[in-house]
């Protein structure tokens, strides 16, 4: 007897909650929708980045100023060397021990093989071409750039930031999947 009364009173309380939702849960619900939308965008972009060979280049120095100032982030896409045209801004890798370089192509010459090209490049802010030509089979072409984002993206790699984000997401998922008595009752 007492048990069923308890269930009834709980059901009544639940009823009341559902009829007049508390403001906190409304805000929480809205935030969850926003977070879900952002997450979806992130997932789609990640898939696109891997399938279309798109990556990000952060600018440490200003030799492409004013086109791409220091601290910019550029969206770059890998293209074969045969698609390079004079005037393109491309990122060329310089081996493991050096950072890649991103400059404007000033000339394209044929290389030793069909797929190879020999480039000369110059930063927009430089008066001379780079001292040595670059021999490439593929480069990353700058599609567009956004000033000022480099520091933020670089800090994403920080273990503390990454750890905090992962923890937050884990808590959210854990909360959403936490088994509730309510459902068993119904």
């Amino acid at each position: 007897m007492t048990g069923s009364a308890l269930v009834e009173s709980r059901a009544a309380a639940r009823h009341a909650r559902r009829r007049r939702p508390r403001p906190v849960s409304v805000i929480g619900d809205a935030l969850l929708w926003i977070a879900a939308a952002l997450g979806l965008v992130c997932l789609v972009l990640t898939v696109l980045a891997f399938t279309l060979h798109i990556s990000l280049i952060m600018f440490r120095t200003g030799s492409m100023d004013p086109t791409i100032p220091t601290g910019s982030v550029a969206i770059v896409r890998e293209i074969p060397a045969s698609d390079i045209a004079v005037g393109d801004i491309v990122t060329v890798d310089r081996g493991d021990d050096q950072l890649p370089i991103t400059h404007r192509v000033t000339s394209v010459g044929p290389g030793a093989t069909e797929a190879e090209r020999i480039l000369t490049m110059r930063g927009d802010a430089n008066e001379q071409d780079d001292p040595y030509p670059y021999t490439v089979t593929s480069v990353r072409e700058v599609i567009f750039s956004v000033p000022g984002l480099a520091q933020g993206i670089a800090s994403l790699g920080n273990p503390l930031v990454m750890g905090a984000l992962t923890l937050a997401a884990g808590l959210l998922v854990g909360w959403a999947f936490w088994p509730r008595e309510r459902e068993a009752d119904a």
Binding site: G39, C42, I57, T61, G123, V173
Partner: protein, 207 residues
Amino acid sequence: MRSGRRRGARTSQKVRALLAAGVVVGLGAASTLAAWTDQENASASLTAGTFGIVGSVDGATFTEHPNQTPAQLAFSVPANALLPGSVVHAKFAVQTTDESAAGVARLAADPGNVPADGSGLGGFLTYGVSQIEGDTCDLAAFSEGTIIVPRGSALTISPAAGVTQALAADGDSPVTYCFEVTLPTTASNDAQGRSATPRWTVNAENT
């Protein structure tokens, strides 16, 4: 009915939570895909190195000796009255200039040391060159050193191809050549009173 709606709301909540976790995946991917690029300005960082050599006949005072004013070797005995059997020695030291890069030196004899028309003393003399460690150039030092041109060679004989002497950078450790010139005992009477002004060149190149 009511429970179905509630279950739908719960499922929506779960799906949205999972999608929200995608933010972590996306940002993680962004931070791994992002790379720094370095835009060095090459014209500012280049400085040409210098390379030069100076020579000395006494091992102490080193100066440049261009083609027009060669260094006059100081022979150990007066070389202006050579008799058959006379052997004279003189040294010539070279080193790199201050701030110069390292390199190699190569000695060469001038083809004009023995005139083609047989004039002068050049055709009668023989010589040899040895690279010596010390400061003294005499018979003993010559034999101890590294023979570059063997004794008894004609004045036009240069060291064998590929024989070079290493020059340290910045004027460190000069290379000293010990020249030995001989008027052989077999010299004919024709040699009397004649003179010669043989010339050797030290070419150096940066390595």
